[in-house]
């Protein structure tokens, strides 16, 4: 549904987006994750045809956004970071205007407007001026605006920014409901949001894609090896030796121990599941196996490890 290849956007000497490539399948929700200023908004603006890219290609719903901008735009709904509302228009007038410029046929306009107002729960505000709406309603009217021409692709730039917790939950639910009919790209810098709503995540930092995966895989994979947390009842030295003898184990760290039970972090070769051998070895050596579980990084840790560059000590001191 969306295909982005080697997209680069430069502003003078500054590179906002650097060689970004990713794909979104039909009906999928893709999360665009990155710290502020990472290039999320720029990428989205290129996808929606608001700004042209310096180089690279972007195809939305089968149409290249540079070659056939009108066709691509007809199939794209876009909610920018600030909902683009005209303060002096009422919600009804505004949606009617948007339906005209988005090319909704005159006969279907009224039905479409009613439908999106119901979907986004703004029907009770139809006669209220957009400038007098609360932040939550603005965001929802913005979403209604993006949906009005029933686009294949929805691009939402921080749809939950500035909302209160209840509104955030409602918006997320709404986004999930929309996913079946629409392909959705949403950006955020809030991590739980991604874990809760998105099927796949693109992590972007300083204009570069640093990871593309499902939230589960991202949290699982991000160490070069698989890590297991083991708690064993027995003499630490002997246990460590026993664990190290298991084929596939790369490293064993004794984490902590109280009385007899010791915790160990066991790193194994990537892609190799050593849990069975490990359990057998522990029990076979006569120790008590108290706990054995895979260690996953939280999405926060993944995010930080991907987007923070650790500075060498000397430089940090200088």
């Amino acid at each position: 549904m969306i295909e982005v290849q080697h997209l680069t956007k430069r502003y003078g000497a500054f590179t906002a987006v650097n060689d970004v490539s990713f794909k979104v399948e039909r009906g999928e929700i893709l999360g665009f994750l990155g710290p502020n200023g990472a290039g999320k908004t720029t990428t989205m603006r290129v996808l929606t045809g608001f700004i042209p890219a310096t180089s690279g290609h972007a195809v939305v719903a089968g149409h290249d956004v540079f070659e056939q901008p009108l066709e691509a735009k007809r199939r794209t709904g876009y909610l920018p970071e600030t909902p683009p509302l005209y303060p002096d228009m009422t919600v009804g007038e505004y949606l009617s205007f948007v339906s005209k410029i988005k090319g909704v046929p005159p006969k279907e306009r009224k039905a479409r407007i009613d439908q999106v107002m119901r979907k986004t729960y703004v029907a009770d505000m139809v006669n209220r001026a957009c400038g007098k709406l609360s932040k939550g309603y603005r965001q929802r009217v913005g979403l209604a605006q993006a949906l009005i021409h029933n686009p294949d692709v929805l691009i939402l730039d921080e749809p939950t920014a500035g909302l209160d917790p209840k509104q955030i939950i409602e918006t997320r639910r709404l986004v999930k409901e929309l996913a079946g009919d629409h392909t959705i790209v949403l950006s955020t810098h809030i991590l739980p949001e991604v874990a809760q709503t998105c099927q796949r995540v693109v992590i972007i930092n300083k204009g570069k894609v640093v990871a593309v995966d499902t939230p589960a895989n991202l949290t699982g994979r991000l160490r070069g090896s698989e890590a297991l947390h083991v708690q064993v009842d027995g003499d630490p030295v002997q246990v460590t030796a026993a664990l190290q003898r298991v084929p596939g184990v790369v490293r064993v760290n004794a984490a902590e121990s109280h009385d007899h039970a010791g915790s160990y972090e066991v790193d194994s070769e990537a892609g190799r599941d050593v849990r069975r051998d490990l359990a057998r070895a522990i029990v076979g050596s006569g120790f008590g196996l108290l706990e054995l579980r895979p260690v996953r990084m939280s999405l926060e840790e993944v995010f930080l490890s991907l987007t923070t560059e650790e500075q060498p000590l000397e430089e940090a001191h200088a």
């Binding site: 608001f50 700004i51 009108l70 876009y78 683009p84 002096d88 410029i101």
Partner: protein, 255 residues
């Protein structure tokens, strides 16, 4: 075309939703009414003097009243048109609604034309106010209506030229005050551009005279539709709209 109409309609609506339309039209009516009374008094005095002098020549109401009145009126437009155009693009840029327009399946040209016709419609409403004053003249006198018709055509073209330049300047900045001031300065320069031409010799004089906005209006007010002036105004409008469309496009590239 439907998109142009949609945008023009929204523009016109937003003028009337904010105080702008009422302030602009209201003050225009006030100032024009004052001018009307002033010129009419002068005209009546002239008529009475002529009557007492007993001369054979009669006063022409088109020449001696309507023409100076309309030429004076253009000065008011000089002041008011920047107020109409200064917000057209600046406001959209500031509030972010430009993102809605530029990501909708419409062309830049349709947006520019929509804004142009929206502003022109407000200008036309302003012009329509003067129909009341001239209507009174028709009630009490017998002016010729044909020159008045060409005068309105000329005034529309004149206003459209200003609006096209005003749109262009508005597209250059986020700041309404900057847009308004710059527009006013450019209008004023186009007004008085023929002042300095004569000191550089006959060729430059004719060039500067040709550039001057008001010089081309007089013939329309006299009742003459000269293609020379039509070409001037229309090319001016097209040029202004072209610059605006280009400016919006480069804005995208610069981000």
């Amino acid at each position: 075309m439907r998109n142009v109409m949609a945008i023009a309609g929204r523009e016109l609506r937003s003028y009337f939703a904010s105080p702008i339309a009422y302030v602009v039209i209201g003050f225009f009516a006030l100032v024009f009414g004052y001018m009307y009374v002033g010129v009419m008094n002068w005209f009546v005095q002239q008529g009475m003097q002529m009557g007492m002098g007993g001369g054979p020549q009669s006063l022409n109401i088109n020449q001696q009243m309507i023409r100076p009145l309309l030429l004076n009126m253009t000065v008011v437009f000089l002041l008011l048109v920047p107020l109409i155009t200064m917000r057209t693009y600046s406001e959209e840029k500031r509030s972010g609604t430009i993102e809605l327009l530029l990501t909708s399946p419409i062309t830049d040209l349709e947006i520019v034309l929509g804004k142009f016709f929206g502003a022109l419609a407000l200008y036309a409403v302003m012009l329509a106010v003067t129909l009341i004053h001239f209507g009174l003249l028709f009630w009490f006198g017998r002016p010729e209506w044909k020159p008045l018709l060409t005068a309105y055509l000329g005034l529309l073209l004149f206003g459209a030229s200003f609006i096209s330049i005003g749109l262009f300047i508005s597209s250059l900045t986020k700041n309404q005050i900057v847009a308004g001031t710059a527009t006013f300065a450019v209008f004023l320069l186009l007004w008085i551009v023929d002042w300095i031409g004569s000191s550089f010799g006959p060729t430059t004089e004719s060039v500067f005279k040709y550039l001057s906005m008001t010089g081309h209006l007089d013939d329309f007010i006299k009742g003459v539709i000269d293609t020379k002036h039509l070409v001037y105004y229309i090319s001016f409008i097209v040029f202004g709209l072209f610059l605006t469309a280009r400016s919006v496009d480069t804005e995208r590239w610069r981000g």
